[in-house]
């Protein structure tokens, strides 16, 4: 716990560097990643991230020491080259884009590893720590690196801020963007350049191998909470920054731990929580919604069956057995029983020694379902000229969906009809 306070008091200037550095690196890649995510080019980031490795190694071989600016330059060059090659391969041969991405990614990475192992065996003492670029090491950021990264992060964030409208248009409607006269190719080029830059500095935090996660995962998580793009980009930045902070802390308390994977595990956890728990788009929310709808359909069908039984005998408040209900409609026995019990709880049905009967509210609700069913059948036959023997199934579905407003309009449109196409009476109050 002591280390926790020591770390989060930010008293030590080294800790301040590390924290500011990780926040900038992760947040800026999350911001740029939001747009590649929306453009459905998420895996391109993965290719760039792996392709950066040979550039870093090459500039080290040529320059002979770990100068951050030179390394960034080399990384930028091969990262860019990889994107151009993917484009050339997929547009000038029958090889598909995903194959081209996988090919360039793995071959560039292989070349990078080949160079890295040669450097490691060359005995140059300056190379120690060069392999940290593979899995990232937030804790080793020092003042000098920080200035370079801060400048690039600032460029990234400011460019996104300035070109926010253009990037948004490009992500959602490229055709429209070019119609209103935007230089689509130039904007695309800018976005690509920003992606490469984001990767180049992001790998300092999470490393080459897992960089793709920093571009994709915050954006994917943020997408589940909002429909608004500006909110989404903000959320992605916050999620990214939070994972970066956690990563810096872990790096601080356990220096032997690889930082990148921890950052990725934190951001993935946020993403999984979002996938399941987010309101409206989350998996649990939608599953729950579907269950509610299924229940509602089941219950309305029970009330409808009871109403039809009442219609036949002209006695709506008669007590019925489960067997009688089953003569009107086939129910799954288990869901029929739970449905009956639920309807009783909600005050639509009464129960006396295994016999079920309508309450006033229950009869009203059953009557409405029957009415909607018959109105819709009539609408289909009158307005869409569908044969009366083909309209039942459709009406069986729509009767649960029609709102009171649509109900009123249907009544008006059909001029308050009294019978449906099968000559059954349409019940009004």
């Amino acid at each position: 716990m002591d280390t926790f306070f020591e770390f989060f008091s930010f008293a030590d200037p080294n800790i301040r560097y590390v924290v500011i550095g990780s926040l900038l690196l992760t947040a800026s890649s999350a911001i740029v990643g939001s747009f590649t995510f929306l453009k459905k080019k998420a895996l391109v980031g993965d290719a760039v991230a792996h392709s950066v490795l040979p550039g870093v190694c090459l500039s080290f071989i040529l320059y002979g020491e770990k100068n951050p600016i030179i390394l960034i330059f080399g990384a930028f060059a091969t990262g860019w080259l990889s994107l151009i090659l993917i484009d050339i391969i997929s547009s000038h041969s029958k090889v598909k884009e995903d194959t081209a991405i996988g090919l360039i990614l793995s071959v560039f990475f292989g070349i990078g590893i080949f160079m890295l192992t040669i450097i490691q065996k060359s005995g140059n003492a300056a190379q120690t720590g060069l392999d940290q670029i593979l899995f990232g090491k937030a804790a080793s950021l020092v003042g000098n690196d920080l200035i370079a990264f801060a400048v690039i992060a600032a460029i990234l964030i400011l460019s996104v801020w300035f070109f926010f409208k253009e990037f948004t248009l490009l992500a959602f409607d490229e055709d429209f963007a070019s119609t209103i006269g935007l230089p689509v190719r130039a904007i695309e080029l800018l976005l690509t350049t920003l992606t490469v830059l984001a990767v180049v500095i992001g790998i300092q935090a999470v490393g080459v191998v897992l960089m793709a996660a920093m571009l994709i995962t915050p954006a994917a998580a943020a997408r589940f909470w909002t429909e608004k793009i500006s909110t989404m980009v903000w959320l992605a930045a916050i999620f990214g920054a939070f994972s970066g902070l956690t990563g810096a802390y872990i790096s601080y308390i356990a220096p032997s731990m690889p930082t990148g994977p921890w950052i990725v595990v934190v951001i993935s956890t946020i993403a999984f929580i979002s996938f399941f728990m987010a309101p409206k788009r989350g998996i649990l929310y939608r599953m729950n919604n579907q269950r509610k709808i299924r229940r509602q359909i089941n219950d309305e069908n029970i009330l409808k069956a009871l109403y039809q039984l009442g219609e036949e005998e002209k006695n709506f408040y008669e007590k019925r057995t489960i067997e009688e209900i089953l003569t009107k409609r086939k129910f799954d026995p288990a869901s029929l029983k739970t449905g009956l019990r639920r309807l009783k709880r909600e005050g639509y049905l009464g129960n006396e020694s295994g016999h079920w009967s309508f309450t006033k509210a229950g009869k009203h609700k059953g009557q409405r379902t029957v009415k909607l069913h018959r109105l819709w059948e009539l609408y289909l036959t009158q307005y869409l000229r569908i044969a009366p023997d083909h309209v039942h199934d459709d009406a069986d579905t729509i009767e649960h969906i029609l709102t009171p407003e649509l109900e009123t309009r249907l009544e008006k449109l059909l001029d308050y009809p009294t019978v449906d196409p099968h000559q059954s009476e349409i019940p009004y109050q």
Partner: protein, 296 residues
């Protein structure tokens, strides 16, 4: 002798990966192969922790199961969570790979794996790691037996299921119409990819498997239109990649797996430029020939 053993191991791995890769790239699933090869890592580490060795059936089965779980998760997030496919792939495999690397760090003392091994394997140690029977007889490098067995299983799988794989790849609608389940063959193929990745892991590492899964089939794809020929060319390329890669690595004193991936990339580039049917140069010539008819 050592060189021969390493080249042989490399060839076995490259052929196994290449054969499966052919189906992956034809099904536009190259990136799913990439994802699986990363995602089996936690499976490998966990199986290692439980069984204490690398050459157990448990490990193959455990990691194979994780591979299938990966495919399942990718589809689950895509269908149930309505996440776009590329993001679904990206989120799933980076997460599993990160978990794997962390497990290696946490159990560093107990697991005979390190981060370098994850990235580019230890194919140079193949001749040192011998299989010695209980009676003390030396049977030769252990890796050769493992990758050899996996390759035999794969060849059996592909030849027995050739018709089904062919149809589900090129005409899934027709395949379902004549009663071949596309889902079953999809998962069988993914299981095979996981198995091969795990078996190749020691030799070339988790990431360079991808180079062998994708590059040789993509090269062969530019050279032929026939699936059987494509499988054959891919296998030949595997042997070439392994041999040239070994000598390249020996010359520069670098990682053999890295050199193999570089050679694989180089071969693709050659095919991309020089293929008689699909090469850039041949296409350019044909274009010229059309514009300027001969004999005029």
């Amino acid at each position: 002798m050592e060189a021969l053993q390493i080249i042989l191991a490399g060839s076995l791995v490259a052929i196994a990966c290449g054969l499966l890769g052919c189906f992956l790239i034809l099904r536009k699933m190259a990136m799913v192969g990439d994802a699986i090869s990363h995602a089996v890592l936690p499976g490998i580490v966990l199986a290692f922790l439980f069984t204490g060795s690398r050459d157990s059936v448990t490990m193959l089965i455990g990691a194979g199961a994780i591979g299938i779980l990966t495919t399942f998760l990718i589809e689950f997030f895509h269908k149930k969570g309505r996440l776009q496919t590329d993001a679904s792939i990206g989120v799933t495999f980076t997460w599993l790979f990160a978990v794997g690397v962390i497990l290696i760090s946490v159990f560093a003392g107990k697991v005979d794996l390190d981060q370098d091994c994850v990235l580019y394997g230890e194919i140079a140690y193949v001749p040192l790691d011998l299989w010695i029977t209980d009676s003390g007889q030396i049977m030769g490098p252990r890796v050769l037996y493992i990758t050899g067995t996996v390759l035999i299983i794969l060849i059996a799988f592909i030849s027995l299921g050739y018709k089904e794989l062919f149809l589900t790849t090129f005409d899934p609608a027709y395949a379902s119409a004549i009663g071949i389940s596309t889902a079953v063959w999809h998962y069988l193929l993914m299981g095979a990819v996981s198995l091969t990745t795990v078996a190749s892991f020691e030799s070339v590492g988790a990431i360079l498997v991808v180079a062998l899964l994708i590059a040789p089939p993509a090269t062969a794809y530019l050279l032929t239109e026939n699936l059987k020929k494509m499988l054959l060319i891919t296998s030949l390329l595997g042997v070439v990649i392994s041999a040239v890669g070994y000598y390249l690595a020996a010359w520069f004193d670098g990682s053999i797996a890295g050199a193999m991936a570089s050679v694989a990339g180089l071969l693709f580039m050659l095919a991309f430029l020089l293929s008689p049917t699909n090469g850039l140069i041949a296409k350019h010539r044909r274009k010229k020939a059309i514009l300027k008819p001969s004999g005029v």
